[in-house]
Amino acid sequence: MVTFWVAAFIFVTVGIGLIYTVIRFRRKPGQGIPKQVHGSTKLEIGWTIVPIIILGALAIPTVMTEFYISEPPAGDQLTINVVAHQWWWEIEYPESGVITANELHVPVGTTINVEMTSNDVIHSFWVPKLAGKMDIFPGKTTSLWFRADEVDEYFGQCAEFCGESHVWMKFRVLAEPISEFEAWQQKQLADAAKPTTPEETQGASTFVAKGCIACHTISGVLGAAGVIGPNLTHMGGRGTIAAGTMEMNQDNLREWLSDPNEVKPGNIMANSPMSLAYTNPNFALTAEDINNLVAFLHSLK
């Protein structure tokens, strides 16, 4: 912010100087050749030194802040591992063992240390209201830290162009009181909620029969151990679908499952040969299939 005000001040000063000069020395009719001044050493020294001083002053907080943001402060911290994929966020809490996707829950007031790597191309982790961004690379780990001081839901998005659906690679950070956070963790560690209604039950078996298990894990559903796509064990409890693209509700779920390319062009679910339901006519989803799946997935709180 300091920089902005310095910049604004400089702009106004130089701008006024420029406008004043142009007006004052506008050519008048009959005016002869003005005095041919070639330079002034004093002025040169002056207007070299002043910028140096201003920039030098700016450099000090710059370096200090740069060091501040690069390492998390000493003390308690919670580490979260993030693996960025085209175009979703795989999230793991190494201490508790929670695995989820596209939504981070963090306890308010705690230093969070995010360790990140990419499964494919370069991505970038950015929650504008909480911290600057940090790029994510295949083959190495980068990290950033933040601390949410207020209970709130923060919007995040990928900030390095990563392909067709880069725009739709978003996520949410929910900062909550520590008790709520721990309750959430416990819930995440449990197996998936068992289906109760007939649609949900049918949906669970459709999930297996139509090959969703090739890419997705749902703990407690036999065979659903795929790790190519997000972990869906508790997806019904998340605020959004398809990496922050749409709010979680049954209508949106239906829209997503009916035509994923419409929601997220080029997405892997609808285009990969591994995804039988979308690329193999023998496994195509019927309207009834989709209704049942919607019910089932929505029930996975």
């Binding site: 920089t3 902005f4 310095v6 910049a7 702009f11 130089v14 420029l18 000069t21 142009v22 020395f25 506008r26 050519r27 005016q31 002869g32 050749i33 003005p34 005095k35 041919q36 001044v37 070639h38 330079g39 002034s40 002025l43 040169e44 207007w47 070299t48 910028p51 140096i52 920039l55 700016l58 450099a59 907080p61 710059t62 370096v63 740069e66 060091f67 943001i69 191309v121 370069i122 970038s124 950015w126 911290a131 600057g132 961004k133 940090m134 690379f137 295949p138 083959g139 190495k140 980068t142 990290s143 919007f155 900030a159 390095e160 162009f161 392909g163 067709e164 725009v167 062009p265 080029g266």
Partner: protein, 614 residues
């Protein structure tokens, strides 16, 4: 005298199209560069307009994300490599020999070669639109998104081969101008008596020859990965994909100085002329340019502040970046001081030059904001960067180029561009430009990332995007006004005469347009602003003596022998392009292309630069 076993007689007095295709005259080559690059500039502008229409509203679906990504990639590539750079080259070609009192450049055929290679390289780069898809990974094309697995198809090949060929053009031209400026100055024109535009051309040329090899290596490495399965950017084999970013930006940062220094040179000529005062602090302005040229090598990682290089690296690059603001600021102060106490005429060239100062200050200041590395962690990859880069590249380079066009069009064509229409041009462009790009500062700080083909309405970005799009349309109208002025003036423009602006430098001492040989007698120079001295005496204040027409008519050649036209440069360029397409489609074509180029080079070496007059 025949060349290549008599198969291809050297053109003797070609006319019409052949005249243009075999010319080695720097003035014609300058026109070729100017016309081609302006067409590409318009094309790049069209790409921008499509994007702006797409972004005018949330959720718009004028174009698909795939097409949008090709648009933002090609818009940048077109504007930088086929717009600003060759427009600068147009000025180098048209003006450098005239301003140093020379008859042509050191290597006229190499000069023609540079142009044809540029044109064919541009065609290769643009091939994707017709041949299966343009590159769609952003103009800086970060690995591994550019690998064959994530970018199948030929888009990346057009990028690699296109830029590779364009690099050859730029390096050849730069070599030519370095030798020309160092070795062909009129007697008495020491380095510190050269016009500042010449200095900036010299510095830019040195930057070109040192920076382009670095990106060439990067392009080669990417090509090898994609074509031969090598491992330069293969993280599975232990490679670091950030290597691409280092190679790219070690080139990329000097590249932006390549884009701005010629513009600064133009403005350094226009301001004194229209203030009727010499450039204030000439040695300091020159030294600042040299300093910027050197320091430009020390700042590249400010494009990589969010890559996790560590606080020490980030701090070092933040400080070097801030340092480069000092010579830049010094130049701006010297320009304003040039006007101070002068007699300012607000003709169109001057309007654009003053506009340049204002816009460049804004762009420079947003650059300083970026140099604060921790702040950049928020600003990087957002519309704040887009605002900054357009203020310096459009508000800077393009404004200066328009200034140069209005200033030197009379010299090149013999006619004046209409000044009233020019004023309308200027104001439409200025208003449109600022409406288009100033709001992007707000969008960036409000969290809108760049390279997004659409956005959601809840984000609250609708209003500024709409304002921006409106501005871009006004800007486009301003450009159309320019085109109208250009075509109208070619036919009906007021006759310019030698020296319509009461200029200070040598080009104004000869006719408009100049004769083929430029100067009937090479002038002897006694100081800076040599022509002004000649007119007004050493203190510059005398009443102008009647300056004798210093050029002979066409009959009296005075035995001046100009270099002869040649087919070889164009043939060599064709060979290069065939070879280039061969690298994309089939290596056999590369062999054929290489042979064509080799034959052309032999022909070139065998024919003398100038045929004896029959």
């Amino acid at each position: 005298m025949a060349s290549i076993a008599g198969a291809l007689r050297r053109p003797t007095s070609p006319t019409g199209l052949w005249r243009w295709m075999t010319t080695v005259d720097h003035k014609k080559i300058g026109v070729l560069y100017g016309v081609s690059s302006f067409l590409f500039f318009l094309f790049g502008g069209l790409e921008a307009l499509i994007m702006r229409v797409q972004l005018a509203r949330a959720g718009h679906d004028i174009v698909s994300p795939e097409v949008f990504s090709q648009l933002f990639t090609m818009h940048a590539l077109t504007m930088i490599f086929l717009g600003v750079m060759p427009l600068s080259a147009a000025f180098f070609n048209l003006m450098v020999p005239l301003m140093i009192g020379a008859r042509d450049v050191a290597f006229p055929r190499l000069n023609a070669f540079s142009y044809w290679v540029f044109l064919f390289g541009a065609i290769v780069l643009q091939s994707g639109w017709l041949l299966g898809g343009s590159p769609n990974v952003g103009w800086f094309a970060y690995a591994p998104l550019t690998s064959s697995s994530f970018s199948p198809g030929n888009g990346m090949e057009f990028y690699i081969v296109g830029l590779g060929i364009l690099g050859i053009s730029s390096v050849a031209a730069a070599l030519n101008f370095i030798v020309t400026i160092i070795n062909m100055r009129a007697p008495g024109m020491s380095l510190m008596r050269m016009p500042v535009f010449i200095w900036m051309t010299l510095i830019t040329s040195f930057l070109l020859i040192t920076a382009f090899p670095v990106i060439t290596v990067g392009l080669i490495e990417l090509y090898f990965d994609r074509t031969f399965g090598m491992n330069f950017f293969n993280s599975a084999a232990g490679a670091d994909v950030v290597l691409w970013q280092h190679l790219f930006w070690v080139f990329g940062h000097p590249e932006v100085y390549i884009l701005i220094l010629p513009a600064m040179g133009i403005v350094s000529e226009v301001l004194p002329t229209f203030s009727r005062k010499p450039l204030f602090g000439y040695p300091v302005v020159v030294l600042s340019g040299i300093t910027i040229g050197f320091m430009g090598w020390a700042v590249w990682s400010h494009h990589m502040f969010t890559v996790g290089l560590g606080p020490i690296a980030n701090s070092v690059f933040a400080i070097t970046t801030m340092s480069i603001a000092v010579p830049t600021a010094v130049k701006i102060f010297n320009w304003i001081a040039t006007m101070w106490g002068g007699s300012i005429s607000l003709k169109t060239p001057m309007l654009f030059a003053i506009g340049f100062i204002a816009m460049f200050v804004i762009g420079g200041l947003s650059g300083v904001m970026h140099s604060v590395a921790p702040a950049d962690a928020q600003q990087q990859d957002t519309y704040f960067v887009v605002a900054h880069l357009h203020y310096v590249l459009f508000g800077g380079s393009i404004f200066a180029i328009f200034s140069g066009i209005y200033y030197w069009f009379p010299k090149a064509s013999g006619r004046m561009l209409n000044d009233r229409i020019g004023q309308i041009n200027f104001w439409l462009v200025t208003i449109g430009f600022n409406l288009a790009f100033f709001p992007m500062h707000f969008l960036g700080l409000d969290g809108m990332p760049r390279r997004q083909y659409t956005y959601q309405s809840e984000m609250g970005w609708d209003l500024w995007n709409l304002v921006s799009t409106t501005g871009s349309l006004i800007l486009a109208i301003g450009i159309l006004v320019f085109l109208h002025n250009f075509f109208r003036s070619l036919r009906h423009g007021e006759i310019a005469g030698n020296d319509p602006w009461d200029g200070r430098t040598l080009e104004w001492s000869i006719s408009s347009p100049p004769p083929e040989y430029n100067f009937a007698t090479i002038p002897t120079v006694h100081g800076r602003d040599a022509f002004w001295e000649e007119k007004y005496g050493h203190d510059g204040m005398n009443v102008p003596a009647s300056v004798e027409a210093s050029n002979a008519t066409e009959e009296g050649h005075h035995g001046i022998h100009m270099p002869s036209p040649s087919y070889m440069p164009m043939i060599a360029a064709i060979g290069l392009s065939v070879a280039g397409y061969g690298l994309i489609y089939h290596f056999a074509a590369s062999v054929v292309g290489a042979c064509i180029t080799l034959v052309a080079i032999f022909g070139w070496a065998m024919e003398p630069p100038a045929e004896p007059t029959e």
